[in-house]
Symmetry: C2
Amino acid sequence: MKPHSRTSIKDVEFTDRDRESLYKTIFNRRDVRGQFLPNDIPDDKVARILQAAHHAPSVGFMQPWNFIVIRSNTIRERIFQSFLEANEEAAKMFAKEKQENYRSLKLEGILDAPLNICVTCDRSRSGPVVLGRTHIKTVDLYSTVCAVQNLWLAARAEGLGVGWVSIIKEQALHEILNIPEDIVPIAYLCVGKVSHFNATPDLEKAGWRKRLPLEDLVFFDQWKEQRADGSDSLIDEIRNAGNDIGKYKFTS
Amino acid sequence: MKPHSRTSIKDVEFTDRDRESLYKTIFNRRDVRGQFLPNDIPDDKVARILQAAHHAPSVGFMQPWNFIVIRSNTIRERIFQSFLEANEEAAKMFAKEKQENYRSLKLEGILDAPLNICVTCDRSRSGPVVLGRTHIKTVDLYSTVCAVQNLWLAARAEGLGVGWVSIIKEQALHEILNIPEDIVPIAYLCVGKVSHFNATPDLEKAGWRKRLPLEDLVFFDQWKEQRADGSDSLIDEIRNAGNDIGKYKFTS
């Protein structure tokens, strides 16, 4: 049989509409803490967001992730207690004038959301030498984060909110979820239907920090080289693309 | 003025078609190494994928990322030399019988792709104490990875291939790109138009590793607790969702 020539390959076509749907998802994804509803999530939705996660890129095709799907009230109650403890320590780390603002923020939905998912990384999944992990050793952790981001976007398109709880001690996750010491918990996520999504990130809304202008974060060829000759048109386009984002959003 | 009541919030609606576009993007995203074309990429496309990255979640709304957009042949040539050096070291780390397979793999597109982007993390972007980074210290690195994954998906929908080069020494990236020691290079990406996308990951195609069955990677409530009572329906749905993925793909 004659091998396929390059032109015989039937590629998947992406339409303007596909692109718009993707950008709509990306620009309206939120870190949800305060709007979870207790309603059960249909298993088919949970299955799809997990498949989305599982189709993330991974170094050496290692697929180092596991997903602990947590519905138990007892387990979530223990996680919540650990959050409270860590959060009290956290509050005290901020300057006096920021502590009041910090304490007023709702930073998790552990018990409000009906489902929590802990995403972990098994660093020995494919043996000690991993293709692509030979020099930068953290790339397997990064692969697992890519899975988290896929899950997050899929959830948004499924109408589900996701909130990443990072104010917790890693050791507490090991103990409460019985995670072996050599497995790294990467993300503890709260997942559920929501009353609504906010149009802007909670921390932006609360005046904690502002969105930075992207054009200030882009360099050319080397660190801190901005707007090299002939590259200004990219900066212009970055501003244009920024102005276009409004069309994907809504006002609340 | 009367405050908005919950029901007055006009949320963005996601249709079945939006969801399908997102899944199509996720399931057809590839780590591209071998199919780059030298054609220039229009600046508006580059701008949009950078905006997608910039709208990733970040701990404490820190937005710790920078994007070094590399078009210079001289810089890319130096990066490529660093890759070659690291790749030779890497090959020798594998067992004898795997070395031949390893050496036959095309693992980067540094010079083939017209654009490289180095995504970095500035850990001190918002001061020493970061909301959400008080206990798990690596979450700012993870935020930056979320930006990479957003960029990757946006690129796929724009018809651009992206390949993540991790076979390089971190110190070489600091030196060649003039990145300060306290800034962490997270991802070195090759970006460009492609002749075609492969239907399956390169490493799967090359017989390096297989896709794992997702149902084996999902636990219930605690590590290694599989198929707890009443949870089997999720496992069934995971299989169903897995079978449905074929409809988003193509055969080459």
